[in-house]
């Protein structure tokens, strides 16, 4: 167990380092600069030259990289060029918002998705299954349509309340996610209910509900864990489109604005957060596999 953890941790650090390095190179090699036309801050050339010098942007890229990495190892994420405040402070503001949105959406996504998928599988090819399948396909294939429609509703009811503001973006993300999750869950259930051990469970004289929800579902959750591991970082790094449309001050919006303004420290910090989330999502999925399936449990020796 300990050896496994150490191996995983080492691999995780390597991944995060690689992502940060790549992002650093890409944003610095990309066209444009933090000030001047067409993207940067609208400031005079004199101030621009001053900024460039102060942020060390005139130095060779290797020097900048070593400086950045050195600061990072000391826990210093740097100073935002556009926001004129520490990157850590900007993240501290955006992250909780994204977490609140992402966790609400995740719960909605998987609770609803799993429930619908199981229901559909139990009613395979009957009315309930087909109707829900079509609705899910519609929701899943028209996210933009959905996103445009929602703010209109939103405009009528501007209650300055966190929970209320959370409702629409979380519903949007959660429902679109649930539509996909339900399809996975349905397929997984249908595969499992054809297996011999489900017949064994029926032969014992168990209720159909117990057969499906206990014997089949436990097995059909395994492919869902993979999906969870992928969805988790996607939502926790900020769903860019939804955050933008709903003016939700989270990571996605922060990152997009920073990219447009060539605010290098924020962009690399956002990539850092994203890679940490991917690694975390994978770790979480692995831990869940162990809980759900005794065959892949890591031996505690």
């Amino acid at each position: 167990m300990a050896a496994w953890l150490v191996r995983r941790l080492a691999a995780s650090i390597a991944i995060v380092w690689a992502v940060v390095t790549l992002t650093f190179l890409i944003v610095h090699l990309a066209h444009g600069s933090p000030c001047g036309q067409p993207d940067g801050l609208p400031v005079s050339p004199a101030i621009c030259a001053d900024l460039t010098r102060r942020f060390g942007l005139d130095k060779p890229i290797s020097t900048q990289y070593y400086k950045y990495l050195g600061a990072l190892l000391h826990g210093d994420l740097g100073w935002s060029i556009a926001l004129q405040r520490p990157v850590a402070a900007a993240l501290a503001e955006a992250l909780p918002n994204t977490f609140a949105l992402a966790l609400t959406a995740l719960i909605l996504d998987f609770a609803l998705g799993v429930a619908l998928g199981v229901y559909q599988a139990a009613r395979e090819r009957r009315f309930g299954d087909i109707a829900l399948g079509n609705v899910a396909l519609f929701v899943n294939s028209m996210p933009t349509f959905w996103l445009v429609l929602c703010p209109q509703v939103h405009a009528f009811s501007c209650v300055a309340d966190f929970a209320w503001h959370l409702t629409l973006p979380a519903l949007t993300l959660g429902l679109v996610g649930a539509a996909g999750t339900a399809r996975y869950q349905r397929a997984a259930m249908l595969e499992v209910v054809r297996q011999d051990f489900v017949r064994t469970a029926r032969a014992k004289g168990l209720r159909e509900r117990r057969v499906l929800l206990r014997h089949a579902l436990r097995n059909a959750l395994l492919p869902l864990i993979t999906l969870f591991g992928l969805t988790f970082p996607f939502l926790l790094t900020g769903a860019v489109l939804v955050e933008t449309v709903f003016a939700w001050p989270g990571m996605g919006r922060l990152a997009v604005t920073a990219i447009l303004q060539r605010d290098y420290p924020i962009v690399t910090a956002a990539a850092l957060v994203a890679s940490v989330m991917v690694v975390l999502g994978n770790l979480l999925a692995d831990a869940l596999y162990g809980v759900a399936d005794p065959r892949i449990r890591v031996r505690a020796t």
Binding site: R199, A201, R202, A203, K204, G205, L206, R210, D293, R295
Partner: protein
């Protein structure tokens, strides 16, 4: 003769075929009795309908594509299982009639401990508490000969060998002390030495618990060792039915004859020991397309015109009481035809 425990009459289980166009008559008018405490062997090649017959008894046929035709009748303890409400049927499944399956590898749920899977039927049917159920599971594991049952109870199926898993399946089936145990090819997936152990175990448990066993197998060797009576199935029908010693001494249906001749024997009489093992030519036809007349006639060495045109009923072979030995073959009406041609190569 006492009342049978399980009475199957004119059982017809049909399936809609893959393309939805035809009907596969997998079981087509099967009748037999199972008496308390006896072992009944149900024998035939793959595709002859024996597994579908056994699954039909507990109504475990997936619907669709399968369905049991109206007019079929499966009586257990005075009630027709085919018309029972789901709730009443559940009270019989796993409690009065239990089943073990061919594949111990896939018939156990991989995510639950074997102890839980054994105890589950007792929890559901007898409302045992968790702790009592666990104690019962340990007892059952001991009964079926799992070494160190107190530890084995917490094992998962993947931690056990095939033979051990089949023992677990048996423990699971017997936990409520059923009156009938349906064993569908219980030893087919196992090594020969393990096969013998499992059969011995079933025999011992039958003596201890007194249940009736319906033993489904394609292996006449298994039947010879453990069954009191044998029902031979071919193409969805019963073709011969007799007490085991009678069947082995006097097989009357050409199919039974062929099956017996295809069993390798060390003590074979010299007439048969010609160095080569006999096989029945051809194979079981598709269930959506049974031949007309006698269903065995395309493979039968004795077949004549009548066999092609007319389907034979089950005829009494006249051994002991009526119905002791029945055969679905026209040879019974014209026995001289059997000697007219030598059946074996």
């Amino acid at each position: 003769m006492t009342e049978p425990l399980l009475r199957v009459r004119d059982l017809k289980t049909y399936f809609v075929t893959e393309h939805g166009s035809g009907t596969a008559r997998a079981v087509d008018g099967v009748s037999f009795d199972l008496h308390a405490g006896e072992t009944l062997g149900l024998v035939g090649e793959s595709g002859c309908g024996k597994t579908v017959t056994s699954l039909s008894v507990l109504r475990l046929i997936p619907e669709p594509p399968g369905h049991i035709r109206p007019g079929s009748f499966i009586e257990f303890a005075g009630r027709n299982l085919l018309t029972l409400a789901p709730r009443e049927l559940r009270a019989i499944r796993g409690n009065q009639i239990a089943m073990i399956f061919q594949e111990p590898m896939t018939s156990l749920n991989p995510v639950f401990t074997v102890g839980y899977q054994i105890a589950e039927a007792a929890i559901v049917h007898q409302r045992l508490s968790r702790r009592a159920a666990r104690t019962r599971a340990i007892e059952m594991l001991k009964l079926v000969g799992i070494p160190d049952p107190a530890q084995g109870v917490d094992h998962y199926p993947h931690q056990m060998s095939g033979g051990m898993r089949q023992r677990v399946m048996i423990a699971m089936a017997l936990v409520c002390h059923p009156k009938v145990l349906i064993a569908d090819e219980p030893t087919t997936a196992l090594d020969v030495t393990i096969q013998a152990q499992i059969l011995e175990l079933l025999e011992r448990l039958q003596a201890e618990l007194g249940m009736a066993i319906m033993l489904i197998t394609h292996d006449l060797g298994v039947v010879a060792g453990s069954a009191d009576r044998v029902v031979v199935m071919y193409a969805g029908q019963v073709v011969e039915q007799a007490p085991t010693p009678e069947l082995f001494a006097r097989p009357l249906h050409p199919y039974t004859e062929g099956l017996l001749a295809s069993v390798p024997r060390l003590d074979a009489p010299p007439a048969r020991a010609r160095g080569r093992l006999h096989g029945i030519p051809g194979q079981v036809p598709a269930a959506s397309d049974w031949p007309g007349g006698c269903r065995f006639h395309p493979r039968c060495p004795y077949a004549w015109d009548r066999c092609r045109d007319e389907e034979p009923p089950l005829l009494d072979a006249g051994a002991g009481e009526p119905g002791t030995h029945t055969v679905r073959c026209w040879l019974l009406t014209e026995p001289q035809r059997r000697t007219a041609r030598a059946p074996l190569p």
